[in-house]
Amino acid sequence: MSCAQTFADYALRSIGFGVRALPKTDITLCEQVVLIGSGMVWNAYFAILAVIFGFLFATALAVARASDNIWLRKPSDWYVFLFRGSPLFIQFFFAYELFAQLPRAGIDIPLGFTTITLATSWLTKAWAGALIVLFLNTSAYSSEIFYGALRAVPKGEVEAARAYGMSGFSLFRRITWPTLLRLAWPSYTNEAIFLFHGTTLVFFSGFPAWQQKGDALYYANYFAEKTYNPFISYPIAALYFIIFTILIIALFGAINTRLNRHINPAECPKIKYRPQMIR
């Protein structure tokens, strides 16, 4: 079988298109490269959606943690402690069991004149359940970064804006938030990379890979078990992750440049990937 044929068969296998049966005997290098690459679709899906939604929620959380209102501050503090203090792996297991406990048929919500049935079975699927966990997890870590940056916003900027008559939301949107992002961005890049790497845990925790539709590491593990040779499939997966990580750094670097476009390039804070400072 030619490599082009393999590509046609397996390039989208992870999302259910192409040949159903995975290669079992005489596994070629091409099959491994294509199938593991196809699994990267899931890693990208989880990472992109979780980062986008997590960014919004984390901003709200950071503001809540800096608020004077104890009813906003305390719950968000506890939320961050809960998700930063426990392993993501255990969070996946716990969430899966929690979702699995919900009634299969759905939850009936009586509204008096009619009854709405809330479907619940989709929550036990990886595409939704794992995404929720990743979203909540990255929100907690990102909000810690944003909260630190929020406290580091120079007081003078805010005072000057007040003198101009700005207050409330417009002050936040036009003054505090841009500065906050600028300060937080290098650390936030690290968080995005960590989250991306965390997506590999999904199919090794409670969530089952339905019809063998899994992520890159799921297929790499599959090949390692089938061929009993770890020296080919894991390095392929590692290479994919290195390429994607470089892409993330390039994308976030471009955003960083844009955030600092008014600052002298020589003084612009460089994104330094320091993995130890983040989780």
């Binding site: 402690f81 426990s86 297991f93 790497h197 965390g198 400072m277």
Partner: protein, 286 residues
């Protein structure tokens, strides 16, 4: 009291249920978590120091090795290493033993979907007791952990060594200290202030990585939580529905308290090592 579980009720039932031999194994597996932490942390520090020093070495190949070692965890998820290192090491050891113990067999090692070595090269030997297999698996897991987190530590220590003010070292040089003396008396003691935030973070990462032992086939707390929590039919002495949710809740609480305690300890430690150092951001170094 617990001789006939079917007669028990309420708290008594729960007490007897929680003290079954299987549950005692579950409690013992919490010790595995601590054992991994206690064994891994020093090895990680040693590898971290080696990595950081290699990166600063004047000898080019050694420096290249240091750079590769400290950068490898940046682009690749650690889970890949956890899956790869134990099985790769296992095969490497068996391959070497195969070459030494049975040189007369020249068949290829990889035969189709099999990894074939002679019986005498198996690690541990097929005839060795169960605990030997467990110990070997545990050793491989600890090595994998140490290699990965050693790279993290090397990053932290390298950064901390660079963060020590240059004029401190220059002053020492002016006093006529040798490079070795400077490193031992000036550079190293001052480095700790800068390294501690990173190291405390690394300790947290290490704690939160311990459930990944489950992926390496070790009977750790995750294994037992899955095993004990699963629904038990009336065939068992203590039948119950699916309770995995509660077992994982217990693990969640365990990890939360562990990280909380570590956080408090590190806070006081940070205050102690930065005593007597004139640093502006003293209060923020946490």
């Amino acid at each position: 009291m617990c001789s006939d579980p079917s007669l028990l009720e309420g708290w008594q039932w729960l007490w007897c249920y929680l003290s079954t031999p299987k549950h005692q194994q579950f409690y013992a597996s919490f010790l595995v978590v601590f054992a991994v932490l206690i064994v891994t942390a020093p090895v990680t520090m040693i590898l971290g120091f080696a990595g950081a020093l290699a990166r600063r070495s004047a000898f080019l190949p050694l420096r290249c090795f240091g750079i590769v070692y400290t950068s490898m965890i940046r682009g690749v998820p650690e889970i890949i290493f956890f899956l790869f290192v134990p099985i790769a090491l296992d095969q490497l050891v068996e391959f070497i033993r195969h070459r030494i113990k049975c040189p007369e067999i020249t068949d290829p090692i990889y035969q189709g979907a099999d990894f074939v070595v002679c019986m005498a090269a198996k690690m541990p030997l097929g005839s060795s007791p169960q605990w030997a297999h467990g110990l070997w698996g545990f050793t491989l897991a600890v090595i994998a952990f140490s290699i990965v987190y050693g790279a993290f530590a090397a990053n932290t220590l390298h950064g901390a060594l660079n963060a020590v003010p240059q004029n401190q070292l220059e002053t020492a040089r002016a006093f006529g200290m040798s490079e070795r003396q400077i490193f031992r008396r000036i550079h190293l003691p001052q480095m700790w202030t800068y390294a501690l935030p990173g190291l405390s973070n690394l300790w947290m990462i290490l704690i939160k990585a311990t459930p990944l032992l489950f992926l390496l086939g070790i009977e750790d707390i995750v294994y037992w939580a899955k095993e004990l929590g699963g629904a038990k039919t009336s065939y068992f002495a203590y039948p119950h529905p699916d309770w995995r949710l509660w077992y994982f809740l217990a693990l969640l609480v365990f990890y939360l308290s562990l990280t909380r305690v570590s956080e408090v300890v590190f806070k006081s430690l940070t205050a102690r090592v930065s005593k007597g150092q004139s640093l502006l951001g003293q209060a923020t170094a946490s």
